[in-house]
Symmetry: C3
């Protein structure tokens, strides 16, 4: 039995998540399901893909079940992919691609079309999380069928990619983007510590941060405790990326940031 | 060991849910507990009953532990019921009746009064979820005692029913009710596709929806993708019921709907 | 295998909680993790400590993993403590001390410094929940190493205490404090039924409650059902403490209470 790690935008206010757990347990009671998070903003494929990408290295090898699916009922395919880490199950809309690439790419990809492994519709639209993805994840977790039985094979390089921006030079600085704002308002960027080094800044130095028409001079510190409560800072976060934060506060509020916002960093 | 499927209005901000899991684990560590949802609106028995009714067919046979209990401390009885699906444990206030009926009715019903299977009070009010319902669910899940030991038998048809409205003719249309608004604002009604057929409407046709003094002409479509983003629609949802939705939006907000609202549908 | 009971201020909107579950499962897939709550207000050590204190007697013996850690990156030590109940793992900032004391005190305390049982940093700050506390909890839950291998021993009485106020006389009454306001607005105080008895009040009697400049005359009742919907009341809650509540409403809103607020009770 492999564990299933389950991430979605289902929220916890309705029984959607519980029903998926139920479907898995009906197929194989011994399979364990870990809830990664169900707090992805509704339909935000990029936020789901980045959350899965951050989490994957910490999840037990097995099955990753990911459902953020604004195009349910459209042409995007429900797929399963086999990788060195294990199986990925979800919609082929860019949600899975970054994590699949990170763990080494797919050796098998199938479209989840075989009706034997789907729950019959109750007459209306399909709830793919419950009727298509959960059964596929359970079957793979329990080794009840090889992945190739779940539907027709697709090319291994056919996963829909997620377009992620690169860090680029911008005048005397670099331009990156906010990838993630967590629920506490911490803003992770796509900028690596090496990019800061390229600006000639070292930890302890100061950095001009330009966000839209605003500019802030922030210190690059090791830990929140290095600044006063309520003060903004730059640090390398626990994923090794440059992040903007406010000690005991919210960088998103203070610096007026949202996910996808561009930020330009210049030596201060 | 049977799994326990647990639904409540406890929310997740306090340790109520965790403590119930703990009580079960102290009685029998091997019992698995599936959280169906704990986001039922506080004290809303009808919403809890309908959520359990929607979920039950997808939950593994075993024990359903349901606690939405505005009358805690009043005369409603704590009960357990045996059914073809398994056991139901909760307050006898209408919460359990629809799901019990759906799985075939109760063959045994008892009042949870035997002190051997209750956690002694700490001197104040009883937290029935923790002190009465969780121990009963754990004992039944682990087959530690037959249901008849948990307390005195009640008539099998004694469960307090939940009164649910029927769809009725209304002039040249039909009148139904909103049963459920999910956290995304989708509004499920108690109207079946057959009722629409009775109006002479087919999928692809248009329907006048009257809500209070407002009237909307909506298209009956197969999937969200059949209308433009932001547009309202009628479809058959994944439970096979007529629902009002807005693609990438909230029907509850757009159409000013709440649970229990009446809707009249007329051929458009 | 001992179960881990996990409480934090991580919230559920991001993947923090899921990643901790993942880290545990990677170390030992058979260990069960019970989520006590992750809804502790961010950085509120006292609220976390009181939640753990209320819950501990209902949790299965094993490992308590508690992370509310506003001082991450400062001098407070990550610790593990062995007690008659089992192990406690978390920051030494007062979070663990009340529950450790309640279960009989620590027989061994260590600082979690041994790198063999930590996840290497990705180059930035450490996410202690993921990198330090989760591995320690998993190792202890799975008996993979004795606690003394996790780091240098500390004195058994060295846990940072949490200062909790006592109930004191105040004129012709007693002065206590609101310890906990749950998500429904019920306000638990640190006042025991014996304190009320000391005022010469019995159940059914009335009590003057003074909060700041306001004064309310409330009845001491057994159950919510003893007052009208919307009415405020005093009762002994399910933890055996004096609490202020409103039937089908919020005492916090009605009486304008927050955690830490002082209340003076006088015979009415």
């Amino acid at each position: 039995m492999h564990p299933i790690s389950f991430i979605s935008d289902f929220g916890l206010d309705d029984e959607f998540v519980g029903v998926v757990h139920g479907v898995v347990a009906r197929i194989e009671p011994q399979v364990r399901v870990i809830d990664v998070t169900h707090g992805i903003a509704r339909g935000n494929v990029r936020a789901g893909a980045l959350s899965l990408l951050r989490a994957i290295q910490y999840l037990p090898e097995g099955v990753a079940l990911a459902v953020v699916d604004p195009g349910v009922g459209t042409a995007r395919r429900p797929i399963a992919a086999e990788t060195p880490w294990g199986f990925f199950v979800g919609p082929d809309n860019g949600l899975l691609a970054p994590a699949v690439a990170m763990v080494g790419g797919a050796s098998t990809v199938v479209a989840l079309e075989d009706e034997r492994f789907r729950i019959p519709s109750l007459g209306g639209v399909t709830f793919d999380g419950r009727d298509v993805f959960a059964p596929a994840a359970a079957v793979l977790a329990a080794d009840q069928a090889p992945i190739t039985e779940l539907g027709p094979a697709l090319p291994n390089d056919s996963l829909t990619p997620l377009l992620l921006p690169l860090v680029e030079p911008d005048g005397d600085g670099i331009r990156g983007e906010v990838w993630w704002i967590d629920q506490f308002g911490n803003a992770q960027t796509n900028i690596a510590p090496e990019d800061l080094a390229g600006l000639g800044v070292e930890r302890g130095g100061s950095i001009d941060v330009r966000i839209g028409a605003s500019e802030y001079e922030l210190e690059w510190v090791q830990a929140y405790g290095d600044v006063e409560p309520g003060e903004a800072l730059i640090h390398i976060d626990s994923y090794g990326l440059v992040a903007l934060a406010v000690r005991e506060g919210s960088a998103a509020e203070r610096l007026n940031l949202t996910e996808g916002h561009q930020v330009v960093l210049v030596r201060g």
